[in-house]
Subunit: 305 residues, 4 copies
């Protein structure tokens, strides 16, 4: 096994192969679905191959959101079973940076496309956390280390436990209840970041590297924070506040303000859903090199130039 | 005074002249502001002239959000007084439609840029209102009339009263407390619309036509719902759930999911703000015609083709 | 089978025989429990026989709350299994009244022991519902019929479904979500009653008469509202907003402001609990008469003189 | 001025003289009020003299709650002005204890009348704070010092500021928002105490000793926690989490679970209220001795034997 070799700010790429399978039983005469489960096409995430199939013949309405490259596919399915299978191989080319070289950008200087990620959203009510976040993180040195301190606070104060939250659970609930799953950790970290003017957003992915004791492979949610590198170039850097998975293996599906934006499936009708079946593994690249994701002491980004 | 004369689906335009004045006392060494108070440039809202001035010399970071045409201007102001004056003359060319010709579009068929307005947001937790909205509005005939029924429900069940809500107040609060100001009416209507799969969003404007008994002219928030006309063309149609102002006189400033997106000023520091001073009036157009906004039995849109 | 025979304002009594069995696995070295699952001794509920047993030898701290006659039994149990069995036979002697003879009592004239049931409590935030309840019920004729209208509103607007709420769910949640179980129906009815100045409280019981399709016999929560009869005598009258059970068969365990006061078990440690096993049936009285509880068009009270 | 002289566990008593004046303008034809603003009669608070007067001739419904000695007076007032004046002189005979001699009592061993103060209430949702309180205070040594640690945490993490909360504000809000007035500090401390099984309740009083910079004398809310002394005798000990006033000068009006129980006035109608006018001072006792309340390093109780 060849390990990763850094060249300048880059590494050899990581190649991930994965598949997801969704099964629904539609109880109404028909039902609309909006799926957001395909790997995004970005300069740092190349989709080498992908295959999407439905068991029903469907006419799909396809849409890619320009700023985030989130891919939406809307379909109308008929009563009965709907099976969705998606598999892909993607190459990730991480930008890596020394954490201590990354700085915050004042609100006034942020690019316009970043502004929405400063504002509160459905599950990340940062407007309520101004006093708390200022107390806790307001006097810390600004930069990547402050985002990391927020991530660590969430990791250290919230207990990971399945079935302790639901689709209504927001960052305020998690701050009070101190328990949740990956999405809850992400919402709380995002809300606290925004409360100290750090732009933060949520990405949907899979939990590559998670301890099998937590159960079979699953969808995952992680956090990105917008910071400037030593040249002043802004990028979104990855954080995993639940600490359950390995960021270097994160494939990007949807990108948005919070879970409301990036559900892998939004369903408009009465449906019984099975647990998604997911598999993900690292595979050798075109040249036969296998670069295995691992936890690294660098700041990683798969967004931006 | 010449009254409006319809030609096909259009009317002669309405010309509005207005000014806003904001005064802040900045207590910190400096403070970032993001303003969103300029009239949007859209095919149906032409800015004939405008003038923006600050009493401090400032370097501004200017950004227009492509999908909504919301205009953001970010500045760093120094300790002391900050005065912002904006005045403009705009021409509004409304699209009008017979309400009974407007139909809903199923989620599966919506254009991608409309999808974010189906999802819950900070102040419009539509995910909580599925059962309520389905009980109340689920069996109504679909179309403009259903959006109107939601608007009327909000208007009839919430009492307008100043100083009864604050920046934390959300649609759920208003549904319980049954009291609020224009933004609260708008949030509740938006949340209920999304709960029955009607895409809905919020626009910031001024309360042209409001009863002087409610106080001096003020900023205003109204609602847009996305519907298809008889040709299947989708547009955002205006609703004023607070019933305080006259939609035909609404100038569009910011457009977004809810108040979190379209605050006229987002402030990153300690500041004392005076009450904004606003004036707005209808003026004759370039040909000397004065078309006075009034309440009309048509569906009006200032968005879309 | 002899059916009930009214004599004046009373009936022959109903005799209920029931048993409850609770099973816990205590994971800590020990754990305190406060149980509130014994039939109250009241002038209208006579405990003919009862038996309480624990599988562990325990020293119990026993307490009866004077105003409500709720019986608390506090124990310290050791690691391992704790089994609690309680069975009893009770005679219920209902006070019955013609609904149209019952009137509301103004706050000023209420007896002091009733005042706590006018105020908001953990799960019944009546202070938030003043406007809503006034809109909905404020103009109704005062009296039993108004309490009944509130009960019917809750029954008609909330859907009964298991596992849709949890121990945090309050009346405000149920008003928004429109789904729940008996305790949620009760909390919402209580909150609305208090919001129109009707004293209301919660009683824990068993769901005698429930449709077996809802599952095995279970604990139940119902509502009492304080009203005056034609002689001006105040009593607490029973309502079952979930409509799942038959009030004439309700045995009184705990009486309090809401579920926080009357949990059948409050547990101070880490414990795994099995589903309680409950059986309840009507049996012949000492004279061999069997009076079967049924739904009746009278107002019933098992409290007061 | 003679300073306090300890004799055994007691001191010479403190004599306080005070007056309160409430002014209402009743807009309806009439309005019920329930007042709870008279000094309680307890073994450690002797009412030497008192005077209550109303400007309207009223028939009052008077009630004293036995367990707490809270005094309620319910009246029906007519349209127009209602003035209420209450003045009294009370002697306080504090029980004092060395903090390190006071221990917690397990739930199983608490007297029954204390149990209600273990449970969550309207503004003190202790059931939501189990994880948080356990994280923060769970490993502290049990006893008075743990209650003090909770008091100090609240004092240190919440900012005192007028007009930042309202009658809906609960402990959960204050935990998030980190700002409030005396009642908010008290609610949060109470909720956290109950979450670690410390019985805690709220007392209404006046803010004797408050810094005049905070405004004129006002009503006040403080906290009592139930602990056992070295002889195993349980008493309620005073804490002032807002730190604004001097506990040795606290007169007891109402005692309850939270603000819902002990409002100085609960009003059932439309009323305009003026700011209460309060004065309070220490005066010499019958023997001419003046014992001035001051902050002391002892645990103080004005409840219990």
């Amino acid at each position: 096994m060849l390990h990763l070799i850094g060249i300048g700010g880059q590494w050899y790429m990581v190649r991930m192969a994965f598949s997801t399978q969704l099964e629904y039983e539609i109880r109404d005469a028909g039902c609309d679905f909006i799926f957001n489960l395909q790997a995004a096409y970005t300069p740092r995430q190349t989709v080498v191959q992908e295959r999407l199939s439905f068991n029903q013949g469907l006419s799909a309405n396809i849409y890619t959101d320009a700023p985030t490259q989130s891919r939406f596919i809307a379909v109308h399915a008929l009563q009965g079973q709907l099976s969705v299978q998606y598999s892909a191989v993607v190459d990730l080319t991480h930008f890596k940076a020394a954490p201590n070289k990354l700085s915050e950008i004042s609100p006034q200087s942020l690019p316009g496309h970043v502004l929405p990620y400063l504002y509160p959203s459905r599950y990340c009510q940062s407007d309520r956390l101004l006093a708390f976040a200022s107390q806790q993180f307001g006097s810390l040195m600004m930069g990547y280390s402050r985002a990391q301190a927020i991530r660590d606070w969430v990791y250290n104060h919230v207990r990971f436990q399945g079935n302790t939250s639901n689709s209504n659970t927001s960052a305020l609930d998690t701050l009070i209840d101190r328990v949740g799953v990956c999405r809850d950790f992400a919402h709380l970290m995002i809300a606290m970041c925004r409360a100290v003017n750090l732009p933060a957003r949520m990405v949907s992915s899979m939990d590559y590297g998670a301890d099998p004791a937590l159960g079979p492979s699953d969808f995952h949610a992680y956090v990105e924070v917008y910071l400037a590198d030593a040249s002043g170039v802004g990028r979104w850097y990855m954080f995993d506040p639940s600490g359950t998975a390995i960021p270097m293996g994160f494939v990007r599906f949807g990108t948005g303000r919070d879970a409301a934006d990036i559900a892998f499936a939004t369903i408009f009708g009465h449906v019984t859903a099975a647990q998604p079946v997911i598999s993900i593994q690292v595979v050798p690249d075109a040249d036969g090199r296998l670069v295995v994701p691992r936890r690294v002491p660098f700041a990683l980004s798969t967004d931006g130039p």
